[in-house]
């Protein structure tokens, strides 16, 4: 579940705009990771058996669970590592080259 809004990149006009201390609000996310991907996982929902393995094993947490059988891939943050497709026993996820997706 993605429950944050993307933060704007901070603009500093003077030192007073710079955060106090070496600190920043947590979950302050400005940049997506989509550009990291060569292949993207594509879900064939007709083959999905709802085993949850893709959701469980994504190192980026980029596969979200909508309900017990619907999994949604957050392509802004999926890095295309292929773990989900590899671990999907029914073969519901295939890795497709970005320019062919």
């Amino acid at each position: 579940m993605r429950d944050f809004k993307m933060s704007p990149r901070p603009q500093w006009n003077s030192l007073s705009d710079v955060p106090m201390g070496s600190s920043c609000s947590s979950f302050h996310i400005c940049d997506a990771n989509a550009a990291w991907r060569v292949f993207r996982p594509v879900m064939d929902y007709s083959l999905c058996i709802g085993c949850h393995q893709c959701y469980l094993l994504c190192p980026d947490g980029a596969i979200h669970k909508e309900d017990a059988k619907v999994f949604h891939i957050d392509y802004d943050f999926c890095k295309g590592c292929g773990i989900c497709a590899h671990q999907c026993k029914p073969g519901a996820i295939s890795m497709v080259k970005e320019d062919q997706a």
């Binding site: 579940m1 993605r2 429950d3 944050f4 933060s7 990149r9 901070p10 920043c24 609000s25 947590s26 979950f27 302050h28 996310i29 400005c30 940049d31 997506a32 990771n33 990291w36 991907r37 085993c51 949850h52 393995q53 959701y55 469980l56 094993l57 994504c58 190192p59 980026d60 947490g61 979200h64 669970k65 017990a68 943050f77 890095k79 295309g80 590592c81 292929g82 773990i83 497709a85 590899h86 671990q87």
Partner: protein, 297 residues
Amino acid sequence: MIKKLNARNIDAKECFYGHKACGGCGESLALRLALKVLGEEAYLSLPAGCMAAVSFIYPNMAFKNNAVITPFASTAAVATGIAAGLEALGKEAPLSVGFAGDGGTADIGIQSLSGAIDRGEKFIYICTDNEAYMNTGIQKSGLTPFGAATTTTPAGKAIHGCVTEKKNMFEIAAAHGITYAATASIGYPEDFLNKVQKAKECDGPAYIHIYTPCPTGWGHGSKITVDLAKEVVDTGLWFLAEYEDGEFRLNRKPGDFKPVADHLKRQARFRHLSDEEISQIEVMRDRKWEKMLKNWG
């Protein structure tokens, strides 16, 4: 009775997101799963290392929680300082958790970890073990296994990779008389989730040592990270165990080990090994298991 955790009933909320770890990073999976159990209330301490480097790069902060990068040697000290501070400020049941890699735990951080366990205050320490200093470019640590090539133990003509065996951090932690200690692997994620749950519930320091393959450091395809982490348990090169109430317990006693050679050859770091060296690794494994089965069986 605590509900057994599994893929279906874990919290859908993500507390570790948008981080810049390599694709297929085992360590980041371990953190993500741990936070599913620990929740966003937990206060996190991480030393300078991969997980800190990929999740605190201004202006991108990947943790939903309160989190701090600690001096490299100081994960456990900062975590217990946080726990003490929160307790002194009157917070009820504060949860302070340290995450550090193999080097940050078994080498530079072992002193502060020992001191923190010894103080006996409640905190959780999770060692994400990928068997070398990955953040600095794959140098040997105290947890690099025998035979592994790293950038400081290359597969040279005279010396063929790492010549030492892994330090036994699990037993070192247990030897303090710690409240709870366990080993885990991201190849057995549900086992790990439940061990984190136990650590969260226990009244005192807890140590979990989880095996987390690193595609970049080990030289394997990013998609097989979880496979390798399962295989390593099935080949007997890693083990799942707990230390609780002063007793050791093996969680899995494999009948027949899966072949070691196939597992090792899937990782570039072991490809130079001769058959003889692989047999040597099997002998080491068998010796270790003989002891574990005798003492903890």
